[in-house]
Amino acid sequence: MKNKKNKLNKKWSDIKNFYIYISPWLIYLIVLIVYPMIKSFILCFTDSDFGGKGNFIGLANFVKAFQEDPLFFKVFRNTLWYVVLFVPASLVLSFFIGWLLSRKIHGRGFFRTVFYLPYITAGVAVTMLWGWIFNGDYGLINYILSLLGIPGPHWLTDKRIAMVSIVIMCLWSIGNSILIMLSGIQDIPASYYENARLDGASTFRQIFSITIPLCTPSIFFNLIIGVIGAFQIFNQPYILTKGGPVDSTRTVSMYLFSNAFEYGKMGYASTIAWCLFVIIMLVTILIQSSSKKWVFYDN
């Protein structure tokens, strides 16, 4: 009986200690994440301004979004277009560069640093520099093209390619994805490659039959993080194009920001935010459920 009581006391003590140790993070979660989420959900049904106080208006904000505001669907289309362009390109590129960096080459350390550096450079300053590079009149890219006799496009003022320009800019700073891919590739036991070489497999075959399949956990991670990040793209189009030309690069985050902090329509901004949240959640669940079919773990 005494033993049972002691065991129960220890169990309660363990539970208590657990919550005490995680309490700072739990407080942070509740105060800075859960509470704002609940509050913003409530704001969706009000006509609140900056101060967060407003009248209850039912589903009027959702009606406006889905039936009255032409820009609502446009910004989601623009964002989806960015995701479709950026995420696959970043996965392919980061895998390829990660694979190159895993090879035994001279100056490997130097190249690893070089490819990672853009990821840690200040976003705003770098974006402004890219504005110069993309400039249609005197940008670096069009200057180089002019030397080859090719008339450069209007990278940031042509609505057909403005978003592509932003994708190109963002692909420059995929250092973190490269690092994750590199660590995934390096985790693959060398014995697989040795056996494959003995069997006469070419480098190309080894990549597709060994490297990619065994790297799928890293690819999966980069895919999820990439999709979540891409849906929330803000800095680059905000600085480079301000959403132009003709709203072709206006993303959901930018529209949300404008409504919340420029127009003072906090209620409508919250509505947009929750719509974005739902879409990201759905896409993430879709990827997650598909992962059973294509992600291979060693265990």
Partner: protein, 452 residues
């Protein structure tokens, strides 16, 4: 257990420090014995605390701080706290509005007439104070600087501090080289299309333009056709008018003809740099940056000339835009009498305060504006602020601020449609004007309808 508790408390404290917000704060108990007649009067009536919030950085913030220090020195009976909140990344909007809504705002808060009633429910109506003082504001305030502070329902929600408007600066050397006569008062954008052609040329870094695209250009073009973007009572949008179409067409010709840079080109080299480097023949020069621009241009060996802003094509009226800042007394002010005293002295009742702000804009204090500010002279060309004083009375308040910024964004999209995407101006107007009309219907001062 105690050790664990201390560990958790420490972690919690660390967390709270990392999530604190930044704010510069100046608190002053005035100790100077300097007095003016106004201060002497006020001293007998005022007491207690006065909390003032303002935004900004650089020159403007320094000038304002100087003025406030004068007020502090002249009011030893008040305990004044002055805080500056940065304006970058909408930090000001968020913090000020959250505090106003929560009732924790200051007694006096900086604001702008181009909010168009955005925060009006948090501001006191100042008409009773004005009436009690019995001062004819037309005799003490610069003409045109008070109008924007009245709501559409007649409430005086704020009081002016300073404002800026514009004039046209031109590069005499470029005009002489091109053999084009200097622009004169009364010019229109149709005139620019004629004489501006001579300045369009070059490629790449050597490209030259007739006019640098100042950030105010979009606002100016809203009036270029001769009309206004909306009615004075803010009830009706004029975006579907012939005048707005004319303005749009003119803008299309200017950008596509190379007279004015595209947005992308201007993003990477700002308008003043384009002008002072001799790549643009003309530039809208504002009171806020006249000194710096003239100094920089003359250092580059540019000879400058000046004339007034352009006139509307059909009505011939000068188009000038006013950017202004002022103060408001909040509805939660704990010391409204002291707050009103501060507003009065900032606006017209304290010449020393007015002179302190003249470095960053035209003071609303009529006597100081028409003497000290007007006589401020810049550069070898001896440019004086008189041109701004003379033309402030005909300015339009920035038409696309605050509540009206959604309309401004739609206007920017219309401009982009015709200048970047080469859409037909009438088609662009047909597509976007109804959206502006819809925004107007939703504005809080026009309807009690639900939804933002």
């Amino acid at each position: 257990m105690t050790k664990k508790l201390y560990g958790v408390l420490f972690a919690g404290l660390l967390l709270s420090f990392t999530t604190g917000c930044s704010r510069q704060k100046n608190t002053a108990d005035s100790s100077s014995s300097g007095k003016t007649a106004t201060a002497t009067e006020a001293k007998s009536k005022l007491s207690g605390d006065l909390v003032i919030w303002a935004w900004g950085a650089d020159q403007e913030a320094k000038a304002r701080e100087k003025a406030i220090k004068i007020f502090i020195a002249e009011h030893p009976e008040l305990h004044i706290t002055y805080s500056i909140i940065p304006t970058a990344n909408s930090a000001w909007d968020q913090k000020a509005s959250a505090a106003l809504a929560a009732g924790t705002g200051p007694d006096v808060i900086q604001m702008s007439p181009d909010y168009f009633g955005m925060n009006t429910k948090y501001y006191r109506d100042l008409r009773p104070y004005v009436k009690a003082d019995g001062v004819d504001l037309n005799t003490v305030l610069v003409k045109g600087m008070l109008d924007g502070y009245y709501d559409t329902d007649g409430k005086l929600e704020g009081f002016p501090l300073l404002a800026n408007c514009f004039c046209l600066a031109y590069n005499k050397d470029m005009f002489d080289k091109a053999g084009v006569p200097y622009p004169t008062n009364g010019w229109t954008f149709e005139d620019l299309l004629k004489w501006g052609k001579a300045f369009v040329g070059g490629t790449g870094v050597n490209k030259t333009y007739a006019m640098a695209k100042h950030w105010v250009t979009n606002n100016v073009m809203a009036y270029a056709g001769g009309g206004t973007p909306y009615s004075d009572d803010l009830k009706t949008s004029h975006f579907d008018s012939r005048e707005m179409l004319k303005g749009l067409e003119l803008y299309q010709k200017l950008v596509q003809g190379g007279y004015v840079p595209t947005d992308a080109a201007q993003e990477t080299m700002d308008a003043s740099t384009l002008f002072i480097s001799g790549k643009a023949a003309t530039y809208f020069i504002g009171g806020m940056d006249a000194g710096d621009t003239i100094t920089d241009a003359e250092e580059n060996g540019i000879n400058l000339g000046f004339c007034t802003m352009p006139c509307g094509v059909s009505d011939g009226k000068e188009i000038n835009i006013q950017f202004a800042t002022g103060w408001a007394v909040t509805t939660t002010a704990k010391n409204p009498d002291a707050a009103w005293q501060f507003l009065k002295e900032s606006a017209y009742a304290n010449d020393d305060m007015a002179k302190a702000t003249c470095g960053s804009g035209m003071t609303s204090n009529k006597s100081v504006a028409e003497s000290y500010y007007e006589n401020m002279v810049y550069g070898k060309c001896r440019f004086s602020n008189k041109i701004f004083v003379d033309h402030m009375g005909i300015t339009h308040i920035n038409p696309f601020g605050g509540t009206l910024s959604p309309a401004g964004d739609i206007w920017a999209t219309m401009i982009s449609a015709v200048t970047d995407d080469n859409q037909n101006a009438a088609a662009a107007q047909a597509e976007y004007a109804p959206r502006v009309e819809k925004e107007f219907q939703n504005f809080s001062f026009n309807t009690a309808r639900g939804g933002n």
